[in-house]
């Protein structure tokens, strides 16, 4: 209830058409020359002091990538990307591996403060534990600048650090799991990422451990013409549990910028991973100029029996989103979930959804997708639910709802269902609705302004998904959705 009011206050307090995180931090950075070739890859690998096998892995990916072509099947349109006109590595000069917060450039700390990201570990006052503690890994352009609460997590046996650090400190784990969910050859952007990925987060939760706090990574693209290629790897060992959240923002620029990430999740026997995203990359202006191209491959592998992976995403940013967080339900009795809110306004284009691949016996999955389109945007849900020959008693329930605001936007639903096992039961429900003039008038007659009415109706529409977010972020997500839709009425 209070969230609705806060949402409204927030909407009121900012100007129309203003992306709140559009500022740029003027900080000296260390960049690789523009363009992509084997030397650039060697440069990145050397910068990160990687082992030889990692460099070979990257070069293999690069050679493979040269033979691939960009996918064109998504319902999005954009001019061809010149992959040689991008910087593949950019790091704040002062940020090369700080050991503690005191060593972090104050300019960077100020940036995160402005973004509302807590990097200072709250001090524990007189034995009173702060309520909602969240460990943060902050990735600025191509490098991780700081990871908080590391020591405390270590006590529980949880490893939470940047992937570069993991490669140096825990090579056996990285080598064992990297590329096992999203193979190097998976798709054009995943292969590109494998060649040039710069940083990202690494999480390992050992057997039987329930991670004592929320983990989160905050991605920020700052430099001009720089691509962000992050790589995240999360492993929950037998019986472990972890909840992880990522957030993203970028400065407001006229050029388009590329963000091509790969996220791999692995859940072993009886393990559970909950992965939430609040994506708010710069969406471009109302005429469609600028904005981030968000081409992301996210996949979870329920490798063990009784394992569970749950994706929750709130997508409000990016000029173009191309993203399908998926689950491979390999272990018997494993469960996959996908909860999504995708909001598009202005000239944004979203082609997003999920894949639930049922391989093991008695596997189940659930998909709840809520698409909201306003302005002149196009919003597509694309999903695949499949049952392998051996996936007896596979179950899926899918619900796709679309809400249209205004006359010039579009909503599309493209579900694929493939079943090779006669015992599989797949259900699909879809609705498309519009905020009607009658609903608006009714709310206004009760005293709500047009924007308040839209915020209220939209919050009602997305409620099922908001409930899946960690409490700390649910309110934030509601605010974000309302801000994204401002100016969509009247």
């Amino acid at each position: 209830m209070p969230a609705v009011q806060e949402t409204i206050d927030r909407v009121r307090s900012i100007d129309v058409d203003q992306y709140k995180y559009g500022f740029f931090t003027d900080i000296e950075s260390d960049k690789a020359p523009k363009g992509l070739n084997e030397d650039i890859i060697r440069f990145i690998s050397a910068k990160k002091e990687e082992p030889e096998w990692m460099l070979e892995w990257r070069l293999d990916a690069y050679r493979r990538w040269l033979t691939m072509t960009e996918p064109t099947w998504a319902r999005v349109e954009y001019p061809p990307i010149d992959f040689n006109d991008i910087y593949y590595y950019s790091a704040p000069k002062t940020a090369a591996g700080p050991k503690s917060l005191d060593e972090v450039d104050p300019e960077l700390l100020a940036t995160y403060e402005k973004l509302g990201i807590p990097l200072r570990e709250q001090e524990i006052l007189a034995g009173v534990e702060p309520k909602n503690r969240v460990a943060v890994d902050a990735v600025f352009d191509s490098v991780s600048v700081v990871t908080t609460f590391k020591e405390e997590l270590k006590k529980a046996g949880v490893i939470f650090c940047s992937i570069s650090e993991a490669m140096r400190e825990h090579p056996e784990l990285v080598r064992k799991y990297l590329g096992t969910v999203v193979p190097v050859t998976d798709n054009f952007y995943a292969t590109l990422n494998s060649a040039v990925f710069t940083d990202g987060s690494f999480v390992y939760v050992p057997e039987g451990v329930r991670c004592p706090m929320e983990l989160s990574t905050y991605f920020r693209i700052n430099e001009q013409n720089t691509g962000q290629f992050e790589r995240t790897l999360i492993i929950a060992d037998k019986g472990a549990y972890v909840s992880y959240l990522e957030g993203c923002t970028a400065p407001q620029r006229d050029e388009n910028q590329l963000h091509a990430a790969v996220v791999e999740l692995i859940a072993l026997d009886d393990a559970e991973i909950k992965y939430s995203t609040v994506q708010n990359w710069y969406p471009g202006d109302s005429e469609g100029k600028g904005g981030i191209y968000n081409f992301v491959t996210k996949r979870g592998d329920c490798r063990g029996k009784n394992s569970k992976i749950s994706w929750t995403q709130v997508e409000t940013g990016s000029a173009i989103t191309w993203k399908y967080p998926s689950c491979i339900l390999r272990g018997d009795n494993s469960r996959g979930e996908f909860y999504s809110i995708a909001v598009s306004n202005g000239c944004q284009q979203i082609d997003s959804g999920t894949k639930m691949m049922h391989l093991g016996k008695n596997t189940s999955s659930r998909i709840i997708s809520k698409g909201i389109s306003a302005g002149r945007s196009q919003n597509t849900y694309r999903g695949l639910v499949s049952a392998h020959r051996k996936a007896s008693n596979a179950r899926n329930f899918t619900q796709c709802d679309s809400l249209l605001i205004g006359q010039d936007c579009g909503a599309h639903t493209v579900p694929y269902i493939e079943s090779k096992n006669a015992t599989a039961v797949f259900e699909h429900e879809a609705t498309t609705s519009k905020i009607s003039d009658d609903q608006m008038f009714y709310c206004q007659q009760r005293g709500l302004s047009g924007e308040e009415a839209v915020a209220l109706i939209v919050n009602g529409f997305v409620k099922d998904v908001i409930q899946q977010l960690p409490m700390e972020f649910a309110v934030e997500a509601q605010k974000l959705i309302s801000i994204s839709l401002e100016g969509s009425v009247g």
């Binding site: 209830m1 009011q5 206004q444 005293g447 709500l448 209220l456 919050n459 009602g460």
Partner: protein, 251 residues
């Protein structure tokens, strides 16, 4: 309180003229009933009072507390004290009735420059009024009007009216879709709100609602004009003789 002067209005989309010179004055504390045959413009009049955009006022004026409200947005009229109980209340999926009530009350308070209600104070007020209207806690948790029965919808409307405390209540066919028991509950709710500072306009097709909400004045609306005004006995007369006489008179 309310003064409607020579009001002419048409449907914005196709220009069909609906109101052809309505004159009506409602003083504080009075209850006026507007009766009339189907298509006489009763519902249109209620929508125009509330500020629905589908209609265009071509002539005349509506004064509320002495000031014209024609240029005011629906939410401004609401905060100023105009409440319309809908004939067909609208469904708001996913929004709990309780959430809706709080949002509406606080939006109006804010528009008037008042403090928002604290949660305990809000709960206290809702509990009081909901009990009187036989609105259960379970109903308050359900999304507004979604899957509500006819009676539940109308009780929810009157609950909103009771909580928002408007100075002008417009009830559009509140008796439609109600059985006799539900009608009694709703009418009692409306009667409780009668006060010397509050005016009520009851739009209805049938006399039966007026047995429970006894009006001070009864008007007959036909073809967009008020063709006869009288006391409460006029309603009984209409019940007996029908509207035929007036349909002819207006033509």
């Amino acid at each position: 309180m309310l003064e409607i002067k020579n009001l002419h209005a048409r449907i914005a989309e196709d220009g069909t003229e609906i109101l052809r010179g309505v004159d009506l004055t409602v003083k504080p504390g009075e209850v006026h009933a507007i009766m009339g045959p189907n298509g006489s413009g009763k519902s249109t009049l209620s929508y125009i009072l509330a500020g629905k955009e589908d209609y265009e006022v071509t002539e005349g004026d509506i004064l509320f507390n002495g000031e014209s409200i024609l240029e005011m947005a629906p939410e401004e009229r609401a905060s100023a004290g105009v409440f319309l109980a809908f004939q067909y209340p609208i469904e708001i999926p996913g929004v709990a009735t309780m959430t809706f009530l709080k949002s509406a009350m606080n939006a109006q308070r804010k528009a008037r420059g008042e403090e928002e209600l604290s949660t305990p104070e809000f709960m206290r007020r809702v509990k009081d009024k909901a009990g009187e209207l036989q609105v259960t806690m379970d109903m308050l948790k359900r999304p507004l009007n979604v899957g509500f029965s006819g009676g539940e919808k109308k009780r929810a409307e009157i609950l909103q009216m009771a909580l928002l405390e408007p100075s002008l209540c417009v009830l559009d066919e509140t008796d439609s879709g109600l059985d006799i028991d539900a009608l009694r509950v709703v009418a009692e709710g409306v009667n409780k709100l009668r006060s010397p500072e509050r005016s009520t306009v009851v739009i209805t097709h049938y006399q039966r609602l007026l047995d429970h909400i006894v009006p001070d004045v009864v008007h007959v609306l036909s073809k967009g004009r008020i063709v006869k005004t009288g006391g409460k006995e006029l309603a009984l007369e209409l019940e007996k003789n029908g509207y035929a006489e007036f349909v002819g008179a207006a033509a």
